[in-house]
């Protein structure tokens, strides 16, 4: 259990910059999720925290202790890998205790820790089995158990659920959340799955192309994305974007028009007539009928999930937008629809993709 502090961390392979000036402070006991598309540098960041890769520049502090020059084991971290990385020639018990022998944990203490971890993860009946005789979910539980017995300051998870099938992913996710509550340990968790990020995290770090785009609580990221990237990345299906231009400003409101949208008034922020904007509306905020914000198109496909249906609608600029429609009354493919959203659900981004501050915030 410890704070983790990352200061101006850079990593480049030759000319390729993998991480650019990453600063991050992780609180004691916090569950921090690093999320981003593949190649965004999130795994590299995790591996550098673990000590498996060396940073090009910058410092890492664990529990107020600079760990740059320390080997992984000396950093008091434990890592859970996507591939589980169990030792195939050792049974479950040996897998969990193997590392402890080298770190000077006495035999009695080893037994106590394994017994506790096994109880926590319901591994008792599996202790004598070999990894090849375990299912994917069981293997991942063993891998987590191996991390727990180390009693580390920081747990590092590298996409631990990616190899599991959908049902197991949900149950293992719940398991990890439960463990975090139980252990009250600092955890850093890497995933490309924004649902995992939203459900598990105390705070989420959204990364893109080696940079941190935004750090915040899951719902803050959802309702107040700092920029277009975060807005598009968090939320599924993704937010719909519409280009627009400020026509005129009057009475604290800006009138915006665009190729696919009817003119809409948004609160005036730091922009002036003629500015290009991007308006973002989440699928669940788009409804049929009239509203402050309106757009139209032809339904191309309807995905029925039960609690809601997603209508994929072809717009005037030939791009697709998605509207979430509740209930049984879904439009049919080929039908023309008018969709609208209330003013407070419109996200406004400037030409450079940054969120405009005066946009109303609907914090649920």
């Amino acid at each position: 259990m410890a704070k983790l502090h990352i200061d101006a961390l850079n990593k480049s392979y030759g000319e390729t910059k993998v991480l650019v000036d990453v600063d991050l402070a992780i609180e004691d006991g916090e569950f921090l999720v690093l999320v981003g598309p593949s190649g965004c540098g999130k795994s590299t960041l995790l591996r550098m925290i673990a000590g498996l890769d060396a940073p090009t520049s910058g410092d890492i502090y664990i529990a107020e202790r600079k760990v740059n020059a320390l080997a992984p084991a000396e950093r008091r971290i434990a890592m859970v890998f996507q591939s589980y990385a169990l030792y195939p020639h050792m049974d479950v018990l040996k897998n969990m205790t193997f590392g402890l022998k080298f770190t000077g944990v006495p035999a009695a203490e080893r037994e106590r820790r394994v017994a506790e971890a096994a109880r926590m993860l319901r591994l008792e009946p599996l202790l004598k089995r070999y990894p090849r005789d375990l299912s994917g979910g069981q293997r991942q539980r063993v891998a987590i158990g191996r991390a727990i017995v180390r009693e580390p300051d920081v747990f590092l998870f590298d996409e631990p659920l990616s190899n599991l099938d959908a049902a197991l992913r949900v149950s293992t996710r719940v398991e990890i959340a439960r463990l975090h509550r139980l252990l009250k340990a600092t955890m850093v968790y890497v995933t490309h799955d924004q649902i995992e990020a939203m459900t598990l995290a105390d705070r989420i770090v959204v990364m893109n192309q080696g940079r941190i785009e935004q750090v915040g609580k899951p719902l803050d990221l959802y309702y107040e994305p700092a920029n277009l990237f975060v807005a598009g990345f968090i939320g599924s299906p993704a937010m719909n974007f519409f280009t627009g231009r400020v026509e005129r400003i009057e009475g604290g409101e800006a009138l915006v028009t665009g190729p696919c949208i009817g003119s809409v008034a948004v609160p005036a922020a730091t922009f002036s007539p003629g500015d290009d904007l991007t308006l973002g509306v989440r699928p669940e905020h788009l409804g049929q009928g009239a509203g402050a914000f309106s757009t139209s198109g032809m339904v191309e496909l309807v995905e029925r999930l039960g609690e809601a249906s997603f209508a994929h609608v072809r717009r005037a600029d030939d791009r697709l937008m998605v509207a979430e429609i509740r209930g049984r009354d879904t439009p049919a493919p080929g039908e023309s629809v008018t969709l609208s959203a209330p003013a407070q659900d419109i996200h406004v981004f400037d030409a450079r993709g940054r969120r405009l501050a005066a946009t109303p915030v609907n914090s649920a």
Binding site: A73, M79, Y87, H89, F98, R139
Partner: protein
């Protein structure tokens, strides 16, 4: 369907023909080693029967020469070379694939040259070197030469296998606090078992069968190997075929035994369960 069957048949015909060609001479040697001299020449292709059966060759081999010593020498040289080739080869392969250090590429290249250049080209230099080191007519000299002979291919094959071991395993071991040497011996080496068995077979067979280096590096009966020892039955004018065939038949046995032992280790899927 029919075409498939014809193809399978064709493949089998070729494989069976190859097996016969490969096994034929060995069978001939073993068969004739159990026959009297007259029968060997009279009907070389016939299996031994009640009339022609004779153990005279084996009797001669055991009485007339130091066959037991030769066998012992061959075993010592082969096993010692094998153990050292495997140990040094696996360690070198691990170092060359796992660690980047100054000159590692050059070193890997240098070692791979050994696969391309036959070691016998250096026979004269080796002989001089062994003499200078005071090692001529010792088993140590043979072992050293065979290590040099076997190492390049061993490193090459083991490097390929090591690259197939998931990198996460070694990372996990490092996070677990396992020291580097223990990672090699307790995590990597056990996973290399199938590869090590392969390399062992590749290493042993040419060493056991080698005639050249025992011929130039050993001179006394106490250091001869079995392949060299057999030669004493081959004379310029008279060859004791009974003894030669008996000795050769016996010389085949250990190689076959070792092959059987190691081929059991050649089980695939040993890493199953390590990573998905």
């Amino acid at each position: 369907m029919l075409k498939q069957r014809a193809e399978t048949l064709g493949v089998h015909v070729i494989l069976i023909a190859y097996s016969l060609i490969a096994i034929g001479p060995i069978l001939l040697v073993v068969m004739n080693s159990f026959k009297a001299r007259k029968a060997i020449f009279g009907a070389p292709l016939a299996p031994p029967n009640a009339d022609t059966f004779s153990l005279v060759g084996y009797a001669k081999v055991f009485h007339a020469s130091h066959v037991v010593t030769y066998f012992g020498n061959s075993l010592i040289v082969t096993l010692a070379s094998m153990v050292l080739v495997l140990l040094l080869g696996a360690m070198a392969a691990w170092a060359l694939t796992e660690y980047r250090f100054r000159g590692s590429t050059a070193l890997a290249l240098f070692l791979s040259i050994g696969i391309m250049v036959p070691i016998r080209l250096g026979s004269v230099a080796i002989l001089k070197m062994m003499r200078a080191a005071g090692l001529n007519d010792t088993l140590t000299a043979l072992i050293l030469v065979y290590i040099a002979q076997g190492l390049p291919l061993a490193i090459f094959i083991l490097s390929e296998f090591i690259q197939q071991i998931p990198k996460d395993l070694r990372d996990a071991a490092r996070c677990d606090g396992v020291p580097e040497t223990r990672i090699f011996f307790e995590v990597i080496a056990p996973l290399l078992r199938p590869a090590i068995a392969t390399v062992a077979v590749f290493t042993i067979v040419p060493i056991w069968n080698d005639l050249w280096f025992p011929l130039i590096l050993t001179s006394s009966d106490s250091t001869h190997t079995i392949t060299l020892g057999v030669q004493q039955f081959l004379g310029q004018y008279i060859t004791d075929w009974n003894a030669v065939l008996a000795a050769l038949s016996m010389a085949i046995l250990p190689v076959v035994a070792i092959y059987v032992i190691f081929s059991r280790q050649l089980i695939s899927g040993l890493t199953a369960g390590a990573v998905k």
